[in-house]
């Protein structure tokens, strides 16, 4: 059984077809890289998997179950999502993380400040970032905080949309190395970066 499967997905954006007969299977622990020019629907695939966009036809299956309005809330519990242009919210970083851990779907998880600090330092951010205001973080800092949150949630599926776009070369390498090192995680990566390309992931290339 695949961890993730898109079956015959068709989607229009206005009158223009965006995705046409797209089918792909990703096994548990598998890695999928989605490449293509801007506007070819790469990010839309991640939003389809999250149930934030619905296909005109075709199905999204997660662990063999077809995604629908009844199970979407529980399915999102299996995924973690980071995109290139995050809007995290307002308030202190740690308060925001605690709020995420307080969600009903996340209540079996416990927030560990030690683990958060460990990840912050691993990705080149000081412990004081936890006390910082989300609105005062730079694009690169915000992106790393979002990535750290997804890692703290320890999901089965990671949906990563251009997550290395605001990072320097060293941090990019560190990030790619960290995610590829997550043994049981299923990764779906949207990126133009050759670093991801070099990892030998299963790849789909979208075109207009």
């Amino acid at each position: 059984m695949s961890m993730l499967e898109l079956k015959d997905i068709n989607l229009h954006f206005g009158s223009q077809p965006l995705l046409k007969d797209l089918s792909v299977k990703v096994p548990s622990g598998g890695r999928l890289l989605i490449e293509g020019e801007s506007g070819t629907g790469k990010s839309t695939i991640l939003r389809l998997i999250l149930g934030l966009v619905r296909p005109d036809s075709g199905t999204v299956c997660i662990e063999g179950e077809v995604l629908n309005h009844r199970n979407v809330w529980a399915m999102r519990r299996k995924m973690a999502y980071v995109s290139q242009d995050m809007q995290l919210g307002r308030g202190r970083v740690e308060a925001f993380i605690r709020e995420i851990f307080s969600f009903k779907q996340n209540q079996d998880l416990s927030y560990s400040r030690e683990k958060a600090v460990e990840l912050l330092e691993h990705f080149g951010l000081p412990e004081s970032t936890l006390e910082a205001d989300l609105e005062n973080l730079s694009g690169g800092e915000l992106q790393r905080v979002a990535i750290i949150i997804t890692l703290l949630l320890q999901r089965k599926i990671y949906l990563l949309d251009e997550i290395t776009s605001a990072l320097d070369q060293n941090l990019k390498s560190l990030m790619v190395e960290h995610f590829t090192g997550l043994e049981h995680a299923t990764l779906v990566v949207v990126s133009h970066d050759p670093l991801w390309h070099e990892q030998g992931f299963q790849t789909i290339k979208l075109s207009r």
Binding site: R47, L50, G51, L52, V53, R54, H69, R70, V72, W73, R76, R77, M79, A80, Y81, S83, D85, M86, Q87, L88, G89, R90, I100, F103, K104, Q105, N106, A146, I149, L153, L159
Partner: protein, 267 residues
Amino acid sequence: MEAAPDIALVRLLLGFALLLIPLGLSLWLRLRIVTGMFVSVGRMTAQLFLVSILLIYLFEWDNPWINVGWVLLMVVFACGSAIMNSGLKFRHFFLPVFAAYLIGAGGVLIYFTGVIVNPDNLLTAQLLVVVGGMLLGNSLHSVIVGISHFFQALRKEKKRYHYLLALGAGQWEALYPFFRESLLAALRPFLANMATMGVVFLPGMMTGQILGGASPDTAIKYQIAIMLAIFTAVAASVSLSLFFTSRKGFDAYGVLKEELFRNDSRE
């Protein structure tokens, strides 16, 4: 204390002479508000004269059913105005906002008249119509701010909302920060207004009562009570409006429905 003298119509016309100053400024600075100014002043004058005629009859009849009907009509107008000014579609929002206003502002109005003022008959025109108008009128702007802030923020910060859903948030959990910020946006100006009342400006109800011959201590007590009532009505109406409208505003996947917004309302 005696009531203030009436203003003769000729003297009221002299009041309109004051408009020569903004008119001159508008022409000199090319503000292009002359037409707008005449339309607004004309509407204000005509509407107030019509209301005064209506009030004369409402006071003369003083029928509880007519008074309640009049308040309901005011609620309908207030809802229409709130929705039209929020950039949202009337048909999706009228019933939830009407219900919110009716419960929120209507409940506070009954408490104000029945418990605080405690007259023999709480359905009199003097209380129900006048205080109802004051309550609805003063809470309208805040309700517009609350509703439009909520839906426009959800539209503008769609990625933030989607991110919360993607992190496992339930519908209410993902909406909660937007709900909180919208309620604060609606209430904050009101809090600032209350904090400066009596120092920076004398409020309308109090001024009106003093001009009408009431003693300042009665006027102040009414003013304090009405401010508490308006603040509570705003908090209740905005909360209930957001609560009721948020039930209709999203699909089963928790995604905001784009068809809620009028075409002239931009993202």
